[in-house]
């Protein structure tokens, strides 16, 4: 059996690899551009409006965003092979549209080069420069021709007219229907990122250039504390109530707990959190708890004072974390206890005169706690992911807010690191749950044919 668990550990590697591929692909398809977000954050009104393109190019270069995404790409033969080098999505979509229309990207590239040469010669704010600019930004052949037709005869000469006439040719449109695989080698974003991860370097955040590992290290403890406290308290409440509700099935305890916890389950977290802040923290009603942060105890405070301050600040967030999980835990414990109580050995124990307490806790609980092992195993990633709603409302600088900010800013290194961390913990949680099963019930064994037996 030990071998089985070791094999499971080794299977992590290909699983994680597939997860990274999946996550990387999702990020590329999710839209948004971290360079644009950075530009928006750093926007200064300036004279030189071509600065935006320069800044985006420089930003993409310094963050390796000007490299191809993966080792290879599948494209039409007519497509531009260096599409990833265009700084603006507008330029990329124009390149794609014109390449498709003409069937030959190289023709468009030559036309653009010629236009840029002429623009450098022309004075700005002339009609000719405007028309040339229109050609350079046109997304269709019709638009190019319409602008070209307005140029004077002298402006059309020296090869420009030939290039525009070539646009009409249909020779190359067959290339639109021929797929091609373009290999980019190891100089691609995925490879660079993977290499860094394997060397233990999670990269720097795009938002403030701080190392991702440091930002995670700062945010993780508070999220862990809140999650663990919430989980422990939820277990302490749900387990005894679940067991007694099962024993006194359909009694007042069972009915009240079921109704109450499912009502809790139905309440959205953001609404409950806001109500708690307004009713228990604001100056209008009860002012029992502080409303934001985790507390700022003075340096000279002793341990008990610090505990009081932190507890006061975390009471409401912890409640918001745990109330939803109560119903889930309660129902599982109740159901599994009910099943156990129907077993013959329980009847025998009762007949022998054992106390209810002993029957429920010493005998039945051990078996009925199996679902708990699964729940705890799957709770592992949830412990670190936090809840951005709760952290947002209570101003707690935890993993939830970190993830939210990373997504909104398209902070790829942070997003990939957090998702990878979550994936590792999920796999580890499942592995741990299986291991604990085998310890909890000696009848559980794995045979050579890898079938899972119980009893």
């Amino acid at each position: 059996m030990l071998l089985y668990f070791i094999k499971r550990l080794f299977l992590f590697i290909p699983t994680l690899f597939i997860i990274t591929l999946f996550v990387f692909a999702l990020l590329q398809f999710s839209g948004g551009d971290p360079a644009l977000n950075a530009l928006e954050r750093s926007y200064q009104e300036s004279y030189d409006i071509s600065n935006d393109a320069k800044k985006i190019r420089a930003y993409r270069k310094s963050n390796n965003l000007d490299l191809p995404t993966f080792y290879f790409s599948v494209q039409r033969l007519s497509s531009c092979d260096t599409l990833y080098r265009f700084p603006f999505a507008a330029e990329r979509s124009r390149a794609e549209a014109l390449a498709y229309a003409t069937g030959d990207w190289s023709l468009i590239a030559r036309l653009d080069d010629e236009i840029k040469k002429r623009l450098n010669r022309e004075q700005s704010d002339t009609k000719a420069s405007h028309l040339l600019m229109e050609i350079l930004t046109a997304k269709s052949i019709t638009q190019i021709k319409a602008s070209f037709a307005q140029l004077s005869l002298t402006e059309r000469n020296d090869g420009l007219d030939e290039l525009v006439n070539e646009l009409n040719c249909n020779h190359w449109r067959i290339k639109n229907y021929i797929p091609t695989i373009r290999f980019h080698g190891i100089s691609n974003q995925y490879h660079l990122w993977l290499t860094e991860i394997l060397n233990g370097n999670f990269g720097n955040s795009y938002i403030d250039r701080l190392p991702v590992s440091i930002k995670i290290k700062e945010a993780l403890p508070i999220t862990l504390i809140i999650s663990l406290c919430a989980l422990l308290i939820a277990l302490c409440i749900a387990i005894p109530l679940g067991i007694y509700a099962a024993y006194y099935q359909n009694g007042w305890l069972d009915k009240i707990c079921s109704q109450l916890f499912f009502t809790f389950y139905a309440l959205p977290t953001f609404w409950v959190a806001t109500l708690l802040v307004v009713f228990f923290g604001a100056g209008d009603f009860l002012e029992w708890f502080p409303v934001y942060g985790i507390g700022n105890p003075p340096e000279e405070a002793n341990l008990l004072e610090k505990f009081k301050i932190y507890s006061a600040h975390l009471a409401l967030p912890i409640f918001c974390y745990l109330y939803g999980g109560l119903a889930y835990l309660f129902r599982h414990i109740r159901r599994s206890t009910l099943e156990e109580l129907k077993q013959d050995y329980i009847t025998s124990a009762m007949a022998k005169g054992l106390s209810i307490h002993a029957i429920l806790w010493r005998h039945s609980f051990k078996k009925s706690s199996f679902p708990l092992i699964t729940i705890l195993g799957s709770a592992l990633p949830a412990l670190i992911s936090g809840s951005f709603v709760i952290e947002y409302i209570f101003s707690i600088d935890g993993m939830g807010l970190l993830m939210l900010e990373a997504f909104f800013s398209r902070d790829y290194p942070m997003i990939l690191s957090l998702l990878l961390l979550g994936a590792v913990l999920t796999l580890f949680g499942m592995w741990l749950a299986d291991l604990l099963y085998s310890f909890a019930d000696p009848r559980v064994e794995i045979d050579d044919s890898k079938k899972y037996h119980k009893g």
């Binding site: 009104e45 603006f88 405007h130 007694y244 305890l253 802040v277 934001y292």
Partner: protein, 579 residues
Amino acid sequence: MQSNQRSFTHLFRALLLMLIFINLIACIPESQDDKSNLLNKIIMREAADAKSLHPLTVRDAVGFKVALFMYQSLVNIDYESQSLVGVVAKGEPQIDSLPKQIYKLTYQLRPEAQFDNGRQIEAADILFSLKYYLAPFTFNRDNRDYYQFIDSVKINKNNSTAISFYTHQLNSRTKFISGDFFILPYESFDPNRILSNYSISDLKQLVKTDSLPNLLQLEQHTDSSIKNASIQDLKGSGPYSLLNWEKGKRIQLEKKSNWWASNLNEQSVYFQNKANQLQIEIIPDETTALSALKSGDIDVLQGLSPKNYEKLQSDSSRFLTYEMEKRGYQYIGFNMNHPILQEKELRKAIAYICPLKIIVDQVYYGKASISSVPYVSATTSNEDQYAHNLQKAKNLLESIDWKDVDNDGLLEKEINGELVELELEFLYNTSNDSRAAIGMILKQEAKKVGIKINVQSVEWSIYLERLRNGNTTLFYYGAQTAPLPPDFSSLFHSKSAFGGRNFAQYQSIQADSLIAIINKNISVDKRDKIVKAFYGLIQDELPYYFMLTPYELIATSKKVKGLRIYSDRPYYWASELYK
């Protein structure tokens, strides 16, 4: 029966334990109120933390707000007179025209200006600071672009309080921007005096530091300082020093005891330091921030929504409220490359269906003002040229052949041989309730004239991408502007159209020419005339329908005194407040 009793006893014990625990922790420590009164500490709320407080990389609004208390520039805009006021310099630069179209801007420094170590701020410090902003560090790109226009600098050896900048690019904003960088002590930022080995032109020509070990060392030192947010490195000549920065939680500033300008009899905001301590608490959620204000945990709450502002306004026994029209604009933009929106009559018709007064009353609770131009001045008319008029909208649409052919209440027109319905998408960014409401109002009004508007929200990153990509129809956007001479380049110039901030993709030779003239260094009267002509053009062509500018709404506890609200960021100066 016995077992029932036992379980009830267990339950009772558990509940009792919980109550005791809650009481233990619910005895919350005294609020910060009393302590902050004694310390004359002002506690403010911000929705997000500063990204950086280092002078080279401070970009975001909160970072700038804090940096303005820590560092000073040569000059800055006076919030009341809207003219330049000298901060480290005595006043505006003297501008001299030299041969070969070179301009010289000379600043005279205040002889009393000092750093914290008592060293007088001299011309050499200005030169060092400018070099620092032009250093070829990878994270310094924005600053290098911004100050590229300065060709060289000269210091008079006989007069250490005078410095001259030379440039061949003089325009309407040069004198504002030339003195708009923080003056920094080399002891903190370049202790080994590495930059003294390079001239301004050397630094401008360098692209990176890789080949220069000493510059590379300085870059690494600066990078480390930025990432670690080392408080001891972030020194300036401002009225406050950084006491503490707990990332994501709070920023604390302390008044300097021997600040050089303490005894200056200057009323400008840049010379105030009434509060002993300034503390910024990071509270993203407005409801939580409101609760914190009510419970006395914070003193100043800025950027309130109109609804919450009204509630606080009605509680005048506990709170003071302030409102001011912000300098800026909000508009509905039209994608001029969209086949339907290419006719200006249609754009005008959409402007006519927009009920601005209703939007101001219902969406902003009256806390916004109608503003039909992007830069408002005393001489330009701010009247809405397209006051709500559905009949005019219908007439315009009819004049360009939009008719309800199939009697379904929706207008159609033949475009390129195809019958096209008048259906448009109104795009805005998610989590913006006011824009959502404006979209719905517009949709309802548009229906009355036969236009179908689909209101669509997208996440911010996608929204930015679609705007820059020109993948829009109608869109809503807004921005704050600075109290500087207007520069319409980014919004209207054709060079900004493709991937830039000219989201309407507006391209007009006439507009480009007018912008070029406006940006020149011409007299205020002449500029106003050209701006008026420019506004006439854009209000006729209507690439954007400028609508309104919302008010800045601030509330404070009654203990806080001295607040003056301004129309420019940061809208109030915490250094003017006291308890």
